[in-house]
């Protein structure tokens, strides 16, 4: 008799994987440990997620949705940027996952709600042309990922200096000046 499918298993696996990324980082995430924490077996895990890479992509989608929940109420790009920098300092493992997958994510049609929201701010509030908004949102992502990564290494005062400098740059992006 086949085992009863467990509808909650996929969620339990993703929760466990995210927990592991928060605790030990992306590089130390193993399928065996994910299975153990989700109270399932490694073969069952591989049935759901073909390989480690498949699981990590699912986490990227999950993180995109989670980040979007944090920023969806923000009314401006500086506000949104501050929220994302705080999110990245709270979850350094998630920051690493995002920087590893971000450029490849851009080349797929997977959802990128945070990027879309940034673009929307550039177009609607700041009257950027759509093509310019696309580039501006990418540059913003590079600024935020770069700043968050450098802040992680810095002493508190230096980290704050980096954060302030990045947020000032975002405010400047919002001014109407022709380059």
């Amino acid at each position: 008799m086949p085992r009863k499918p467990n509808p909650g298993l996929g969620g339990a696996i993703l929760d466990s994987a995210l927990q592991l990324i928060d605790e030990v980082g992306v590089d130390a995430l193993t399928m065996r440990e994910v299975a153990r924490r989700a109270r399932t077996s490694t073969p069952t895990l591989y049935e759901r997620f073909y390989e480690r890479e498949t699981l990590l992509w699912a986490l990227v989608d999950l993180l995109q949705a989670d980040m979007y929940r944090e920023v969806q109420g923000s009314s401006s790009l500086p506000e949104m940027s501050a929220i994302l920098l705080d999110y990245a300092s709270r979850y350094p493992g998630r920051l690493d996952l995002m920087s590893q997958y971000w450029p490849r994510l851009l080349g797929t049609d997977r959802p990128k709600p945070t990027l879309e929201l940034a673009k929307k701010h550039f177009v609607e509030s700041l009257r950027y042309e759509p093509a310019d908004a696309d580039e501006a949102a990418q540059a913003l992502a590079a600024l935020l990922i770069g700043t968050a990564t450098l802040m992680r290494n810095a002493a508190p005062a230096a980290a704050d200096g980096l954060r302030q400098a990045a947020l000032r740059a975002v405010r400047e992006m919002c001014r109407r000046v022709e380059a």
């Binding site: 920087s99 450029p103 490849r104 310019d132 501006a136 540059a139 230096a158 740059a169 992006m173």
Partner: protein, 180 residues
Amino acid sequence: MPRKPDPNLEQSIVEAALRLLAKQGVEAITMREVARAAGTTTPTIYERFKDRDALIAAVTDYHRDRLVSNLTSEDSLEVAATKFFDYCREHPTAVDLLLARIAANIKLRKRGPTYDIVRHNLMKVDGLNPKDAEEMTKATSAMIFGTALLVSKVDDRAIAREMERATCKMMRRLVASYKN
């Protein structure tokens, strides 16, 4: 009797490590492999370099110095960033080392030569006042660092090029905005 110090030995050790880095990446730099490639012995390498980290630091210095030698005091921010991206593309195995050096400098509250060049040029070439130049150097260093980090994670050259172009364009816009 102690052996005569060989003034070229240190250089040939670093050169051997650089060849290993270029061909196989940083993991290939082990004291044993470097000794073999430099035609010397592991103990001799340890006489010159305290440990592997010290050797890696010398390798990083080499790339940093070459990168800096490409920059001039006439480069606008955009030109300097483009040179950095070009250097990363031409030396993909050195990117992690260069980025780790930037992060380490921030941790040690040290300013590397590229930071000083960017700050200087933002004042002299792009015409910013010192306070704005200081703040913009931090933000643009982070943006250039972030772009190089992201580009190093993707094989698709079209996506990489797009990210670099987006960053350069934004820097032009920012310079104009800070000046006004």
